[in-house]
């Protein structure tokens, strides 16, 4: 973002960056920066809070009044990512003949479909469509038990894209299952990896691939780096 700000400014457009990494903004030094120590992925701070979002924009646009730059200002509010998984119902075990994650994903399909119908858009589909999520979880289950990841039939063979689709399917289904205020940053990630059978299966498959000597990029980006 900071690099692009220099490019756009050179094209004649006045720019303001809402930065999320203080050190990077300091190094690249775009013309005007409002540093926002908010959860990554939420540059305006709080979903569903227009008042707070307007406060961020107001402070950002105020930087346009500076006669010269670079200008670097910090938003006074710090918002930490949640350290607790969101409370979200999961389907009961139904078919004991399949791995738990496969059963679980099948049980979430109606919630996912309701979410898609309501929002009209989905980010699932990078490697697999929603109907195939239980199938790829079955493949990951096999990998976690020691199968060679190259032989289980991963569609397209891109583990990052497959795991993206699984996690996104769960998050979009969860939109229909969580009540109350918007979950904080990372609360849905924590729910997926710490509470669901699918998250546990992804983590177990990733660990098995790492331990089997699979190349780093193939297993590492299946989950957030800190996991």
């Amino acid at each position: 973002m900071s690099v692009l700000a220099h490019v756009f400014e050179a094209a004649g457009i006045a720019t303001v960056v809402l930065s999320s990494v203080r050190e990077m903004a300091a190094k690249v030094s775009p013309p005007r920066t409002l540093h926002c120590e908010f959860p990554l992925g939420r540059p305006l701070g709080i979903p569903g809070d227009p008042v707070f979002q307007h406060d961020v924009l107001s402070r950002a646009f105020a930087l346009l009044e500076a006669p010269s730059g670079p200008v670097f200002v910090e938003h006074p509010v710090v918002i930490e990512a949640d350290g607790q998984p969101v409370a979200c119902s999961l389907p009961p075990r139904f078919d004991a003949s399949v791995p738990p994650a496969v059963d679980e994903a099948s049980g979430l399909r109606k919630a996912y479909d309701r979410s898609l119908a309501k929002r009209g858009v989905t980010s699932v589909g990078r490697a697999v469509q929603a109907a195939s999520i239980p199938d790829v979880l079955g493949m990951l289950h096999a990998v976690a038990l020691g199968a060679d990841w190259t032989t289980v039939g991963f569609p397209g063979g891109n583990t990052t894209a497959i795991c993206h689709d699984i996690r996104t399917y769960y998050e979009e289904a969860a939109l229909e299952l969580v009540d109350g205020p918007a979950p904080g940053g990372r609360a849905m990630e924590d729910w997926f990896f710490d509470r669901t059978e699918a998250g546990g299966t992804v983590l177990a498959a990733r660990a098995a691939m790492r331990d089997a000597g699979v190349k780093f990029p193939i297993w590492f980006y299946m989950t957030p780096g800190q996991r």
Binding site: L4, I13, A14, V21, P50, F61
Partner: protein, 150 residues
Amino acid sequence: MNGDQAMRTHAALLPAPQFPDPAWVTPKPLTQSTVAIVTSAALHAPDDARFAAGDTGYRLLDQDSRNLAMGHWSPNFDHMGFKLDLNVVYPIDRLEELALRGVIGAVAPRHVSFAGNQPDDVSTIRLDTGPAAAAELRRDGVDVAIFTPV
């Protein structure tokens, strides 16, 4: 160390290009300015081409579009906030409210989306796709751009 702290620590150590003679635009009054959003969230309309891993291109987002997908490849940040309220990444409704109140002159008819996970040398967005996107906004009469990272 939580995920955000880990990512910020990692990102702080990434190589950063230098701009020894940076441009500076003295903007006209905000009340007369047309404002656009530039985001690195890899947002795209459902019928746009999806972002590939390491995609150095951009997508133009129509002002009226709200059914946007997030096509970013990184698993290392929260995607849920956007799904709950796109304005937390792409504050298009907030800009329209500011235009109605006369705080800004107008909302741009098109906005720009890049993917934040660029190759380390960022040469393509710096020399090719970045200038091309800026030229598109200039053609739309954009005076001010607010940049929203993820």
